[in-house]
Amino acid sequence: MKRVLTFIVTACILSGCSSIAVLNPKGTAGEKQLDLLLLSLLLMGIVLAVVFTLFVRFLIKYREKPGEENEFPIQTAGNKKLEISWIVVPFIIIIVLAIPTFATTYELDEPYTNDKKPLIIEVTGEQFQWSFYYPEYGITSTDELRLPVNRPISFKLTSNDVIHSFWIPQLGGKRDALPGKENTLRLKALETGTYDGKCAELCGAEHALMTFDTIVENKTNFSKWIENMKDGEKDG
């Protein structure tokens, strides 16, 4: 166990925890998911600590010592109290984890009300690229996603061929893009910057290369980009 712990620590130091995308969210969905990750890690840490303590203790205390080879230890069939305790305690742990899990699941599923003015982006996956259509502005961008900071976004995901999965680890969890079906993913980017976007569902030979850049900008830069794109489409 010690080996594992040192490993985590060195992993964090060497790579800098900041490069672990999921632990360093820049979007609303990503933040809520991180909260759950940390809560479950904490609860599970307790479980691990209990199990490993008992494990090490029993192994040291009850190993066969020289001269004991022919003894017969006392046989115990069980212990009602202990057995009930390890039904009840895990049950409580699960409830503690389940309640925020449920709440967040419903929360992330909640549609935006109109007064929030969500930006709708129609995302289409196809072997092996992503295209992003902004109905509000009538423009389409390929393999580059631009988002205004602090505005709620509603991604409408679909696919032209096989199943893909749309994932920007730093902004939030993934959602599949299915052919013939529309899925919605909602989040809000909280900081400007460039984030990696990926396809998470095996979709063929170039699945690994089906990445895109997500560029989160402030309002003026975003509007400028929109104008440029509109001009570009006219020229094209």
């Binding site: 166990m1 790579s15 999921v22 017969f72 699960i94 096989v162 680890p169 998470a200 095996l202 699945h207």
Partner: protein, 649 residues
């Protein structure tokens, strides 16, 4: 001649290498078998209906598949050792083939049959039976498994391997997106192997229910037997769902039925059916391992299993809940929140019976007298590893967080922690534990310890970093990742760990070779220093073909241990010696398996005359079997007495 040479020139170098080694292996084994006049010996194994021999063949063949899929794992790790690496030919399509066959072979042709093999050897011995209920069907199960396995394994050199992942999601797996025979091999090969698995399960259910020794009530059965009973029930239901899914995929690929395509059908049908099978499958390969660990931990701690009754109910509960969690593999497909929440709850609930088992194992050791022989080391390694895998399992059950983990390397880490931690450690533990029972020789303890430590340390180095890789945003099934995301050194560590595991496996093989060649025979029924507790340790190692010369009378859950406590050498056997009736061996299962193989090739390549020919062969062997009048043979009483008095006492 020229055109043949031309054809070989078009092949990639890895396939040529595979072809050449296949030819060399075939020639070498033919030569050796002929030189040492072993053809008859080989045939006697192939046609055997003895559950011990069938079990050993299951173990042997699945171990060969394990080597193949393990080699693939090493190739995967080499391709991923560095960012933007280009190792040999394994990029893009070829990489997808590697992961797909690695996963498929490991799950269907390694984990499942390894456990079935071990249980084949052990279950009849543990319940005091002379064989399984249907010895002929048992042999047929084996040969269907082997012919399905051959099909999946040769795909690589005959037309291309499956390449849509071990989950083979539609519509990627449909003809439109993956033409050629590749993904046709998958449903047909697994259908044939799966048929054998279902038969095997029915066999075990009947055997365990009907053939227990007098006095062995259900609540006196050893945990290995209990877990095999529940597993068999799971197999019957889960593999039926798989059979339906595979049939749909086969039909769609061969005849263009539109069931799974997105145009007129629904690709999610595949996902649901596959995971209705797929999650119980996880327990199918975990429960027997739990059973093995229960027996091993109790034996090497010299303690009765703590909370036997709750252990049994925990297995039953896990089996039952195992059918109600499949959607946790589909949290991101966009089902509504109510559904996701329900399956999150069932997923978390399953942790409770699993926790019960962990604590019962721990408390079995308390107050005992623990020895650290290799089987026990693997059991202890299992507790540490499996608890870590279980913990990440609960984390994965938390739906919104799973939106992040899903389809990332976090899942790859989790699944190997549970599957290698439970199944592979379980099989290794069981093999070390029952090896002397199977072959009459102990495996070397020193090499065993080397095997354990290299394999386990290598394991944690390989898979622990994958948790972090997943959180850093590395999706699974990618053949490359960019420089500068900090993924490089983690992947490199992981690759080094994989090679250490490879060394572990090599030491294991070395151990088998050395002990088989030079080891001394054990003359004891119970070679584990008089720690044995259950019936398999009351008979000679290896047991005679009929296992028990006289019927054992069971009066408690641990008859042998009770005898030891009363200062006796062995349990009481009752009744008179009699002539023993044995099932005759038969070559039909072998031929039926081969007929299925021929038919399958016909279907895969849509050569209909070949398919018809193969199916005719299948029906012919069935007909022959129906009219056959082979009623087995008899071992005379005096031989039984001679053997029973001569050995072991």
């Amino acid at each position: 001649m020229d055109s043949i040479l031309q054809y070989f020139r078009t092949l990639p170098s890895d396939i040529i290498l595979a072809d050449i080694s296949l030819v060399i292996i075939t020639i070498a084994s033919t030569f050796l078998l002929t030189k040492y006049k072993k053809w008859n010996w080989l045939w006697s194994w192939i046609t055997s209906t003895d559950h011990k021999k069938i079990g050993i063949m299951y173990l042997f063949v699945s171990f060969l598949f394990f080597l193949r899929a393990g080699l693939e794992a090493l190739l995967i790790r080499m391709q991923l050792a560095f960012p933007e690496n280009e190792f040999w030919v394994f990029q893009g399509e070829r990489f997808n083939q590697l992961t797909s066959t690695h996963g498929t072979v490991m799950i269907f042709l390694v984990a499942t049959p390894l456990l079935i093999g071990l249980m084949n050897v052990i279950v009849p011995l543990q319940i005091g039976a002379r064989d399984v209920a249907f010895p002929f069907m048992n042999s047929l199960s084996l040969w269907l498994f082997i012919s399905g396995g051959i099909l999946i394994n040769v795909s690589f050199i005959a037309g291309g391997s499956p390449n849509a992942g071990w989950t083979t999601y539609a519509p990627l797996s449909l003809k439109e997106f993956t033409p050629g025979p590749s993904n046709t091999y998958y449903p047909i090969g697994l259908q044939v192997a799966g048929l054998g698995t279902i038969m095997g399960a029915i066999n075990f259910i009947v055997t365990i229910i009907k053939m227990r020794a007098p006095g062995m009530k259900f609540m006196r059965m050893p945990l290995s037997t209990w877990s095999m009973l529940i597993t068999s029930v799971l197999i019957v239901y889960a593999f039926s769902a798989l059979a339906v899914a595979l049939l749909l995929l086969t039909f769609e690929r061969l005849f263009g039925t539109v069931i799974l395509s997105s145009s007129a059908g629904n690709p999610l049908i595949w996902q649901h059916l596959f995971w209705i099978f797929g999650h119980p499958e996880v327990y199918i390969i975990a429960l027997p391992a739990f059973g093995i660990f229960s027996d091993v931990i109790s034996t090497f701690s010299k303690k009765k299993l703590f909370g036997y009754t709750s252990m049994v109910f925990a297995i039953i509960l896990i089996g039952f809940l195992g059918f109600m969690v499949w959607v946790h593999h589909m949290f991101t497909v966009g089902l509504n929140a109510n559904i996701n929440v329900f399956f999150a709850l069932t997923t978390m609930l399953i942790a409770i019976p699993t926790g019960i088992k962990i604590f019962n194992w721990l408390f079995t050791m308390r107050g005992g007298s623990i020895r650290f022989d290799t089987p026990m080391l693997y059991a202890l390694g299992f507790i540490v590893t499996f608890v870590m895998g279980g913990v990440t399992g609960v984390m994965l059950g938390s739906v919104p967080a799973d939106y992040q983990y899903h389809d990332s390397y976090f899942v790859v880490a989790h699944l190997h922690y549970v599957i290698i931690g439970a199944t592979i450690f379980g099989v290794l533990s069981g093999v070390y534990y029952w090896w002397p029972k199977m072959f009459g020789k102990m495996l070397n303890e020193k090499l065993g310890k080397w095997n354990f430590w290299t394999f386990v340390i290598g394991f944690h180095f390989t898979f622990f970093p994958m948790h972090i890789m997943g959180l850093m945003g590395m999706p699974r099934r990618v053949f490359t990742y960019p420089e500068g995301e900090g993924l490089g050194w983690l992947n490199f560590v992981s690759t080094c760990g994989a090679f250490l595991m490879g060394i572990g496996v090599f030491i294991f093989m070395l151990n088998i070779y050395i002990t088989t060649r030079y080891g001394k025979s054990v003359q004891l029924n119970d070679p584990w220093m008089k720690r044995g507790r259950t019936l398999e340790w009351t008979i000679p190692s290896p047991p005679p073909p009929y296992n028990f010369a006289r019927t054992p009378i069971v009066t408690s859950g641990e008859p042998l241990w009770n005898a030891y406590e009363n200062r006796k050498e062995n349990i009481e056997f009752e009744g008179e010696y009699e002539d023993i009736h044995m099932p005759s061996s038969s070559s039909l299962p072998f031929f039926m398996g081969m007929a299925f193989l021929i038919a399958s090739f016909g279907f895969v390549f849509q050569i209909w005359w070949l398919a018809t020919l193969g199916m005719l062969g299948v029906f012919m062997t069935m007909a022959i079997r129906s009219f056959q009048n082979k009623n087995g043979y008899s071992i005379p009483k005096k031989n039984v007495i001679y053997h029973d008095k001569g050995v072991g006492y």
